[in-house]
């Protein structure tokens, strides 16, 4: 269930220091999130596509990842202009298609795609465990880092537990439908998963205590920044600053 298939490839991006990639991805995402023009997110998409090409990500697999979000954005593009005010681009019967609403939806779509593509190119190209360690080295609170690493570690186990419970229901001829019995059964499934997750967390805590855990995690992985990483961060921050200047100009 935890898929980090993009991290298995090799490219210039893959070889960069994970900390450098996180800093750049975060700064770029913040700039895009607060941008109000349509030009900056458009350039952002172009830059992100460039990063994606540099990371040599498979086009089909990346498009598949973006498809879900873009389906939602399509709904936004269709409906937001219908409820927004301002001059109309065209009318469908009594309903006007607002220019301002369309621009707003386009801005959201571009921003969203640019951020997703950047994160895919820069962050999904590292193992989730590497991401956790890099975040730890960037002084993110330890509790958040370990919450993230534990989630990555156990989401798969919980997924398998859920699949086991579903199989147990299936082999006893359970067919879900829109009825009270189905809702009750799904409730049992969710409840059982919660109980099992709680029990497992207690057992893991015991396992940690047995190995001398006293509230502090020691990080074993260390990173070394090379000249290439410094050049990457400086070049990326320059692009981000130029985009920020275009935004406030």
């Amino acid at each position: 269930m935890v898929c980090d298939t993009f991290s298995q490839h090799d490219s210039t991006i893959h070889r960069l220091d994970p900390r450098a990639r996180i800093i750049v991805a975060f700064a770029f995402a913040v700039l895009l999130a607060i941008s109000t023009s349509i030009l900056v997110p458009s350039i952002g998409v172009a830059v992100a596509l460039g990063a994606m090409a540099a990371a040599r990500l498979p086009l089909a697999a990346t498009a598949k990842r973006l498809a879900g979000v873009n389906c939602f954005l399509l709904i936004l593009l269709v409906f937001l202009p219908l409820i927004a005010s301002g001059p109309c681009l065209f009318r469908i019967g009594p309903v006007g298609y607002s220019r301002e609403g369309f621009l707003q939806a386009a801005r959201i779509s571009l921003r969203c795609n640019a951020i997703l593509l950047t994160f895919t190119a820069l962050l999904s190209t590292m193992e989730t465990s590497t991401l956790g360690h890099a975040l730890s080295h960037l002084r993110l609170p330890q509790k958040l880092v370990h919450l993230f690493l534990f989630t990555v570690r156990y989401i798969d186990v919980l997924h398998h537990e859920s699949a086991r419970l579903r199989r147990a229901m299936k082999v006893r001829c359970f067919r879900p439908g829109a009825n009270a019995r189905t809702f009750r059964t799904i409730g049992y499934l969710a409840g059982m998963l919660l109980v099992r997750a709680h029990d497992r967390s207690m057992r893991i805590m015991d396992a940690m205590k047995c190995r001398g855990f006293r509230g502090r995690f020691h990080v074993l992985t260390h990173f070394t920044a090379t000249q290439q990483d410094v050049v990457f961060v400086l070049a990326s921050l320059t692009v981000i600053l130029v985009l920020a200047w275009m935004e406030i100009r």
């Binding site: 156990y154 057992r203 205590k209 190995r211 006293r214």
Partner: protein, 226 residues
């Protein structure tokens, strides 16, 4: 007396909403001894191991480990550094993303430096035939490999005693044989919980049966239903 590593004297335990699982249990583990622990499901075998390392506290009786009576949490923190507990489910034991981090977790907690921990990891993985597994993702390993890595996490703490909770459960013949060979060659005292008499017969020096909350000697050679 000086060879005695663990001693339980008249130990009783009952879960708050369950029956009594241990009643006046006496057990001794001496250096070089490998004790097999058999008994029915839910009979208290895992509870007994958890009591020894202080994950739960006995309601009555006395527990001695490594020459001292053990009652409080700091006492048991010391016990856990010398008595390695292998959990039944490797997914409970392996919680770090990679093998190297999981195996190094214990040594680092015991105050080893990162370099010392890495050296211990390499040696332990070599010993278990897992060289090259350092950077493997733990949750992607097969059950057999997870079990071996779990054993590595315990051995990396260089314990004097191993407490193994069904180390053979769910393994194929080849992996089971490998675990038997590894355990048989380790110069450590052990308490091994298992439902397989043939598995225990290959490793242990004696066996006890935990039934109806009490312990009694068990003959692994006799065809007695477990």
């Amino acid at each position: 007396m000086k060879d005695r590593l663990i001693k339980l004297h008249n130990v009783s335990f009952a879960y708050p909403f369950g029956g009594r699982v241990l009643s006046g249990v006496d057990l001794e583990l001496n250096a070089g001894e490998r004790v097999g622990l058999v008994g029915p499901n839910g009979g208290g075998k895992t509870t007994l191991l958890h009591l020894i390392v202080g994950l739960i506290s006995c309601t009555e009786g006395e527990l001695w480990a490594f020459g001292r009576p053990r009652r409080t949490e700091p006492d048991f923190a010391e016990v856990r550094a010398s008595a390695g507990l292998l959990f039944q489910d490797p997914d409970d034991q392996l919680f770090c993303p990679t093998v190297v981090e999981d195996v190094a977790f214990g040594p680092l907690n015991l105050g080893k430096t990162a370099d010392e921990a890495r050296a211990i990891v390499a040696d332990t993985l070599d010993l278990l035939g897992l060289a090259g597994y350092q950077n493997r993702i733990t949750h992607k390993l097969s059950l057999g490999k997870k079990r071996l890595v779990s054993l590595a996490t315990v051995l990396a703490m260089q314990p004097q005693v191993l407490l193994l909770d069904e180390p053979d459960a769910g393994l194929d013949e080849e992996t089971e044989a490998r675990i038997v060979n590894i355990l048989a060659e380790l110069p450590l005292a052990m308490i091994i919980v298992s439902h397989s008499r043939s598995f225990l017969a290959q490793i242990t020096t004696r066996a006890v049966d935990l039934r109806n909350a009490t312990l009694s000697p068990f003959d692994l050679g006799r065809p007695v239903a477990i």
